[in-house]
């Protein structure tokens, strides 16, 4: 863990209620959490624990009912390009090619064409889609779509990546490959990552710290330090240390 500096993201007693017809339902109850700059944090918990709600509030797509989220000490008011987001359903623009998708945010930023192309090229190569730069999303597999979405998020140079079960829709093998690739990308292009998942193995494998949440109402249950070194390898995945941390997280998630 980096030395004690101001945290990158601060959840300060963040509460979110949804008013349904008859009953108000508390999706997130006074979540307080600090995430350090450059840290990789995963969030696990049963459905209804408010993990996606927390992520959407940090993204600025959802307003908290009470409390605030601070990014670099400033309260989040809405979405912003310094916080990139990756969705489970990829959310690529199907009428744009891989390159045009990756350039989308750069275009909004007002980057000129040659510079856009140069940046897009770099991130397309980084996620290994170089041969598919001019392909439409419909021709890509699920894993390739998600890699394109990751390149698109990276291209606008966010300091934070918010990932909402990004590998949840992929098969087990592709998922493992993308986990390794994500860690590889993250080690070269260091960002603060908040990664939602319901897969305990994934949570432990990727993270510096695993945030375990509980449901009804959605709240913080436990924070578990992983403490395994990077780069993470298959050896680590199969190690006794990994298993014991994994078991701790499992206990925290499933015996609430």
């Amino acid at each position: 863990m980096p030395p004690r500096i101001a945290p990158k993201i601060v959840f300060d007693k963040v509460t979110r209620r949804f008013d349904l017809k008859d009953n108000a339902f508390v999706a997130l109850d006074r979540l307080s959490l600090d995430i350090a700059d450059g840290e990789f944090v995963t969030v696990v918990g049963p459905s209804g624990c408010g993990k996606s709600t927390a992520l959407n509030i940090a993204a600025g797509l959802l307003k908290p009912s009470e409390g605030t989220v601070l990014v670099d000490g400033k309260a989040v008011e809405g979405p912003g390009p310094e916080r990139g987001m990756i969705f489970q359903q990829y959310a690529l623009f199907p009428w744009l090619t891989v390159r045009q998708n990756v350039e989308f945010g750069l275009r909004i930023k007002g980057e000129e064409a040659s510079r856009r192309r140069q940046i897009a090229e770099r991130f397309i190569d980084l996620v290994g889609l170089g041969d598919f730069a001019d392909a439409l999303p419909k021709t890509l597999s699920g894993g390739m779509k998600q890699r394109c979405a990751i390149a698109r998020a990276y291209a606008v140079d966010p300091s934070i990546l918010l990932m909402d079960e990004p590998f949840g829709a992929l098969d087990a093998l592709t998922r493992v490959q993308l986990q390794d690739q994500l860690l590889d990308t993250w080690s070269r292009e260091r960002r603060t990552v908040m990664f939602i998942t319901h897969d305990v193995d994934e949570a432990v494998y990727l993270a510096n710290r695993v945030i375990v949440m509980a449901a009804r109402p959605g709240r913080l249950k436990e924070i578990i330090d992983v403490g395994l070194p990077y780069p993470r390898t298959e050896e680590i995945r199969l190690s006794v240390e990994f298993m014991s941390i994994r078991n701790r997280v499992w206990q925290a998630v499933y015996h609430q």
């Binding site: 600025g60 797509l61 990139g84 690529l92 623009f93 009428w95 945010g105 909004i108 439409l136 021709t139």
Partner: protein
């Protein structure tokens, strides 16, 4: 890739690299020839009281030669195009406004749902009384028919744009205007084009019926005249022309639609 090897039913022709389905075309042709032959046999004996194909064909040639068919086609097409284009041009912005602003939707929707239930032809008596008997009432009902079909499709298209895609644009820094131009418009294009095609079909159907009731030229009018003189070949010539023109216009729109939506995943 499994995409290319997947066999889909004909009529789609969705995948560009699938090639032409010669077998299907040959069967189409066989069906047509067989149909004409059966018609010929049935009518030759005078069994059903309809004109045999050669008689219809020679009338076709007569009507082309004396220029009447061309005049009728031109006046019918002019009407349908005017009404259709006006309808679509108005429908697309109205549909977008309805899809984008809830207030506008709530204000406009009752009218839309109500008028959708009135067949455009039922407006003709009112249109003739208020607009006279020249081109205006006909163009107006065609306009109404294509407008109603396209506006509903457009706003359905706008409201069914995937919210995650809008959020994706938002987190990449897009503001409302950019989202509208770069996400909503392209994402709803397939819906709009389907609406436009339905609109054209509905415009064409309305046109012919309107000409049957009130016109001095056009394919519908020609049939109406032929009916008075028991001129069956001319009725057939008109019917075939109406069908062919409708088919041609629909195919042209289909090609445009495919061009503009190649990015769509088709199952």
């Amino acid at each position: 890739m499994s995409e290319a090897s997947k066999t889909t039913r004909s009529g789609g022709g969705s995948n560009e690299d699938r090639g032409i389905d010669y077998r299907g075309l040959a069967l189409n042709l066989c069906g047509l020839v067989a149909g004409i032959a059966i018609g010929w046999v049935l009518t030759a004996g005078g069994a059903v009281g309809l004109p045999p194909p050669p008689q219809v064909a020679s009338r076709f040639i007569d009507l082309i030669a004396n220029g009447q068919l061309a005049t009728d086609i031109m006046s019918s097409l002019a009407r349908v195009m005017t009404g259709f284009l006006l309808g679509v041009i108005l429908a697309i912005p109205v549909g977008f406004v309805m899809g984008w602003y809830k207030v506008a939707r709530s204000l406009i929707e009752p009218y839309l749902q109500f008028f959708r239930m009135i067949p455009p032809l039922a407006i003709i008596p009112l249109a003739i009384v208020t607009m006279g008997i020249d081109e205006t009432p006909k163009v107006f009902v065609i306009f109404l028919a294509s407008f109603l079909a396209s506006v509903v499709a457009t706003y359905q298209g706008v409201i069914s744009v995937d919210k995650t895609m809008i959020n994706a644009a938002r987190v990449l820094g897009a503001k409302d205007m950019t989202i509208f131009l770069r996400v909503i418009i392209p994402a709803s294009t397939p819906f709009i084009l389907v609406g436009v095609r339905i609109g054209l079909g509905s415009a064409w159907a309305t046109l012919v019926a309107a000409e049957l009731i009130a016109a001095q030229t056009g394919l519908g009018f020609r049939m109406q005249q032929a009916q008075l003189y028991y001129d069956l070949p001319t009725i057939f010539v008109s019917l075939i022309t109406i069908g062919l023109l409708g088919l041609a216009m629909d195919r042209i729109l289909l090609v445009i639609e495919r061009r503009l939506t190649v990015w769509q995943e088709r199952v």
